[in-house]
């Protein structure tokens, strides 16, 4: 049982650490790092599914008859690209936030937002 599933469990631990960093940290860049870890661990979950005992990389070659499953690899290639796209957009937003708020701490930003909200109400 442990040997059957250990890989998934470690990956879940990593995933949850990333998820925790993402939702608990106060610094926007650290959040993005958390997001990256969260996503990379999901990628590992997929790739773990594709592994076949005794298999090799799915590139057809003479004298090999067991290959690992290529489909998860394809999916994750796409997902990695989506990940970097999201990361770069998020970082660009962080730069703009820094320029307009002069801080990248979430609590300070929310505080400033609350103040502007009150000003609009007044």
């Amino acid at each position: 049982m442990i040997l059957d599933l250990y890989n998934y469990w470690v990956v879940i631990f990593l995933m949850m650490s990333g998820f925790y960093t993402l939702i608990a940290s106060n610094h926007l860049i650290k959040k993005i790092v958390g997001l990256n870890i969260f996503q990379s661990s999901v990628f590992m979950l997929y790739i773990s599914m594709g592994k076949v005992a005794g298999g090799t990389a799915p590139i057809a070659a003479e004298g090999i008859d067991t290959y690992s499953n290529p489909l998860p690899h394809v999916l994750i290639l796409t997902a990695i690209v989506v990940g970097i796209a999201t990361t770069s957009l998020a970082l660009a937003l962080v730069i703009r936030i820094k320029e307009s708020y002069d801080t990248v701490q979430e609590n300070e930003i929310l505080e400033l937002d609350r103040i502007s909200d009150e000003e609009t109400q007044a």
Binding site: L22, L28, V42, L93, V94, I97
Partner: protein, 494 residues
């Protein structure tokens, strides 16, 4: 020949129009091109609806590879219906954009705006039409990335924070969906929705299947702003440029609801979702909470856009309520509300855009006296507000009527009362606006305000008129919604 490729063209045309929009250097040409493409999409959606409205299902295999090996698009009544909503709203919002963004977005960004809108449209259409679970994720990300961009175009700096928050929540949602799809894949070895649906019944009781279900529901819940995961929505709608609020506010959450329905009914099957997982008992309290809470908050908002955003959260509550009733009437109500809410919120946001164009501001107090200064704009707003409340002869009434029927059918009369109470709350929050506009004098020092230009009024009135038309002659929308609801329940009526 074209007909046969219609499902693919529906998405590929806007998808490829986006880079072309970016390559056209002239802003006006870029806008004309984008508007044309949006009309073309609408026309294609109409053709698709014609083809499938009698229950036919169209399939399209990308690359000529048969599913489950290749990616498949499949169009049935439900997809076509949602396609019609999304492309219809786009066909109105794109022409509207030109005048609206002149004052809200710097000129250097106009081309980027049209490109991003085009990408967003393509992503939403693709999410609706695809028959492949992973392809859904990819298209979801296309539409999400472009909507983050669009929201961040807002003038206020809070647009940036709103966009960032949406990005974080949206990406968590997308990753949850990815996990859910991954677990399903691990169990079945396939990604095609129809294929998944044929393999899942054999797995009932598998704990992995339950986890996949949970992740998909939460993931789509984040995307559709299900209470209490709605926190990203109010600011995102409030600070985005008006045309963007109108487009995203009336399409993005609808498509997410569609995707949830698709997974609940088609992929997992109604039996698994509602009999085994009993998801309705999760959705119902959340729906009730979101209707009450969001309507309550909306009553105390001073920014009209944020008020409408909270009202959207409440309306999403109605849609979830319809799903949680698990009968055909309720589901019809949900589907009708998808259509009707898109019409009313689209119309209201477009009207607000016209106000923002003339007044430069959309706070409740800054519209004082506009009833006289901008009679056509405010007239449109009043009709939209009536529709939001659910007054007979407007579309709002039709969907609420179905929901009330569904609650009575089930005998859940407290829910009937809830729907009526929340309609009264809608009266309260819209009345504040109408009162300020018609019964308060415009402040003496305020600058003179003219009626909004026709290029804004015509699109806004188009949607508002649709509110009335489909409120009076609701055959088209009800037929489609009933057909889709019946199809979702299939033979297995609960």
């Amino acid at each position: 020949m074209i007909n046969e490729h219609l499902p693919a063209l529906q998405v590929v045309v806007p998808l490829l129009a986006a880079p072309i929009c970016f390559l056209i250097l002239n802003n006006r040409l870029s806008w004309l091109f984008a508007s044309l493409v949006s009309w073309l999409c609408f026309a294609m959606a109409i053709l698709l609806v014609m083809e499938v409205k009698d229950g036919a299902v169209l399939h399209y295999e990308f690359g000529g590879w048969a599913p489950p090996w290749g990616i498949e698009y499949s169009v049935d009544v439900l997809n076509a219906y949602v396609l019609l909503i999304v492309s219809g709203i786009a066909a109105v919002v794109f022409p509207y954009s030109w005048t609206s963004i002149q004052k809200e977005i710097p000129e250097s960004h106009h081309r980027i705006y049209f490109t991003a809108m085009m990408l967003c449209l393509a992503g939403l259409l693709g999410m609706t039409i695809t028959g492949d679970a992973f392809n859904l994720f990819v298209l979801l990300e296309i539409s999400s990335l472009s909507s983050y961009t669009l929201i961040s175009l807002g003038r206020d700096r809070r647009a940036l924070t709103a966009s960032f928050q949406y990005l974080i929540m949206g990406t968590i949602g997308a990753t949850f969906i990815l996990i859910g799809v991954g677990l399903l894949y691990a169990l079945t070895g396939t990604l095609n929705m129809a294929d998944l649906a044929s393999k899942i019944p054999a797995l009932e009781g598998s704990r992995t299947l339950q986890a996949a279900f949970a992740f998909l529901v939460v993931g789509f819940g984040l995307k559709l702003a299900m209470f209490p995961l709605h926190l990203w929505l109010p600011n995102a709608y409030a600070f985005a440029p008006s045309a963007v609020s109108a487009f995203i506010g009336s399409t993005a959450t609808k498509v997410a609801i569609y995707a949830l329905l698709r997974f609940l009914y088609t992929v997992f099957g109604a039996d698994f979702s509602f009999n085994f997982m009993q998801v309705q008992w999760l959705l119902m309290p959340l729906a009730v909470a979101s209707i009450l809470f969001a309507s309550m908050v909306a009553m105390f908002q001073d920014g009209i856009k944020r008020l409408l955003a909270y009202s959207s959260v409440a309306q999403i509550g109605y849609m979830l309520l319809g799903i949680s009733l698990v009968n055909i009437t309720g589901l019809t109500g949900t589907l009708l509300h998808l259509f009707n809410h898109a019409l009313m919120k689209g119309g209201l946001f477009l009207t607000l855009g016209a106000i923002a164009y003339r007044v430069g501001d959309t706070r409740v107090k800054s519209i004082a006296g506009l009833g006289q200064a901008m009679p056509f704009t405010m007239g449109a707003f009043v009709v939209g507000a009536l529709s939001l409340i659910g007054v007979p002869l407007t579309v709002g009434f039709i969907s609420k009527w179905y929901l009330i029927l569904a609650t009575l059918e089930k005998g859940y009369w407290p829910l009937t009362v809830l729907i009526i109470i929340s309609s009264l709350m809608a009266v309260v929050y819209t009345w504040r606006i109408i009162e300020t506009a018609y019964f308060q004098e415009r402040p003496a020092n305020a600058p003179e305000v003219k009626e909004a230009p026709l290029s804004l009024l015509i699109p806004a009135w188009t949607l508002i008129a649709a509110n009335l038309y489909f409120g009076i002659n609701s055959r088209l929308s009800t037929d489609l919604a009933t057909g889709a609801a019946k199809m979702l329940f299939g033979g297995s009526l609960l």
